[in-house]
Amino acid sequence: MRILVCVKRVPAPGARINVTADGQTVDAAHLGFTTSPHEECAVEEAVQLTEAHGGEVTVMTLGPVAAEEQLRYAASVGAHHFVLIPIDDVDWDPQRTASALAEAIAAVEETNGAFDLILFGNESADAGGFQVGVRVANHLGRPIVNGIKGIEIGGEQGGELDEGVATARREIDGGFEVYNVPMPAVLGVKEGINLPRYPTMKGRLASKKAVVDTDERTVEAGGQVRLRLHRPVEQISETVILGTGPEAAPAVVDLLEELGVLS
């Protein structure tokens, strides 16, 4: 089977998140970058599915040229083909992102045929627009379900097992919902669907040789315009230090009693 995964490069801030002076983006001067966690799991899922059922994984990203780093990381954990849609450093709005991705996907599919599955992260870790996958699915006229934490190929359709169906599990409070989605399909994946592997030495070497195709897209901006980013105001109160080491235990249990959680 042929699977496409759309991923986003995001900064990896630690204890604090800073914004550039113009308020347009996260100040990443001292930060590393990573693949947005849901999408890292989507890549792993795609690789596992092709390991089980045969086929190839293509990874596509819309981002700065530096996002090639995330495509090469995907290569190091087993993906096969790579497409970069280059933009400047500031995010495109969700409509614009989705249109560019849909065009680029259509272009790949025109030569190679439709992907059986297209995976997105449920939402990007940074902007969190909750819509790009849905818009792309709609452009392509395909079904999509979000929040997916389990995928199996083959599902029941009209009482029979159908190889053309992806059975997807979506987590809800205290359980999950099951969807039987006919392929070609699009799914929005969440972290926890699997535990992504670390790259092997062999994978790292292969990733250096991976070929990244560049596909420039000029698409009109959408109706959501960023004015500025800022940190929420926080009330930080003094921390009461209850003690040092195990001798602090009585003070801790006093606190637990006070809060009424001991009863």
Partner: protein, 327 residues
């Protein structure tokens, strides 16, 4: 002209999230000069719709169709689209739950309109030229974005837990109108086919006490004392992403932006540095006790209480003291 609020329910009982959306929607509709309407979809919708006048909805559309008996993002999205077209609604609002955001994204894609997810505030008088302005959540709440929205039909969600759902001071008529959309059979492809119940009892998101462990715990086995303390306190164990990435605990135990948001009476966070992505999942805890060898760790400086020390000694000592006092 109206603001249409999408209300979610579980077999007739409105979700808290829906009440939040209605509470957020009332002043928004008033400031925008719009009537507030609501839509309730699927089996049990009648029962859920009945109380919505008290929450300020003047019209309540009750949508039913054989394809709407269970949730399906495409069928729900298409239903709202047809209702928007049929009633001339100029704005749509839902609560930014997974479902709420997914359904509004479906509406946005189908109407080819922008959609601003997870707003904390929305000003319909905006920039004075007809555009709305808003502040929305990024990074799961660690960062905010001021944005403008230019659209024929304004589609927004309000971030979950930004407002508390309360009844309207002046109830509206809540006139119920039934609505039967025309849905293509093909949309059955994304309707829930089955439902599996896994856990009953306390879960991470509802536990009164969460004992959290991070990289500082060191191994899967070393979580045993945390389990013991959680057991004593009627709570559950949570963890950081460093822990799930190492395979020490399942992802369902992860607290944070890409894990579970917790709101216990007390969160005991041990061996966790307190990165922003962890903090956003923990900050709704009423009290936080950090246990860390590093006095400068973010978790320590942000917590109300802290113990400086090795969690491998501190946690068993707390368990012992609890047992001693209980006798």
């Amino acid at each position: 002209m109206s603001l249409l609020v999408i209300c979610d329910h579980d077999r007739g009982t409105l979700s808290d999230a829906s009440l939040e959306a209605l509470t957020f929607g009332r002043p928004l509709a008033a400031a925008a000069g719009l009537e507030m309407a609501a839509v309730v979809i699927g089996e049990g919708a009648d029962a859920a719709a009945a109380g919505l006048g008290a929450h300020g909805a003047s019209t309540v559309h009750v949508a039913s169709h054989p394809l709407l008996t269970d949730f399906g993002p495409e069928a729900w999205g298409e239903t709202v689209v047809q209702l928007v077209r049929g009633t001339g609604a100029t704005a749509v609002l839902a609560c930014g739950t997974d479902r709420g955001n997914e359904v509004v994204a479906q509406v946005a894609a189908r109407l080819d309109q922008p959609f601003v997810a997870n707003c904390r505030s929305v000003d319909p008088t905006g920039d004075g030229s007809g555009n709305w302005t808003m502040t929305r959540v990024q990074w799961g709440g660690s960062l905010l974005e001021d944005a403008t929205l230019t659209a024929e039909i304004r589609l927004v969600t309000v971030a979950h837990h930004v407002v508390e759902g309360v009844a309207a001071e002046a109830p509206a008529s809540g006139t119920m109108v039934s609505f039967v959309p025309e849905l293509d059979d093909a949309l059955a492809r994304t309707v829930v086919a089955d439902r599996v119940v896994l856990t009953r009892g306390i879960t991470l998101s509802t536990a009164p006490v969460v004992v959290g462990g991070g990289r500082g715990v060191g191994s899967a086995e070393a979580f045993a004392p945390l389990e013991e303390l959680a057991g004593e306190l009627g709570g559950v164990v949570g963890c950081s992403r460093a822990v799930t990435n190492n395979g020490w605990r399942p992802h369902s135990d992860q607290v944070g932006q890409t894990g579970t948001r917790i709101a216990p009476e007390i969160y005991i966070a041990s061996g966790i540095s307190g990165a922003i992505q962890h903090w956003v999942g923990a900050m709704a805890a009423k009290n936080i006790l950090a246990i860390n060898t590093d006095r400068e760790a973010n978790m320590v400086t942000r917590a109300g209480h802290a113990v400086i020390g090795d969690l491998h000694q501190v946690i068993p000592a707390i368990t012992e003291e609890v047992r001693r006092r209980r006798g």
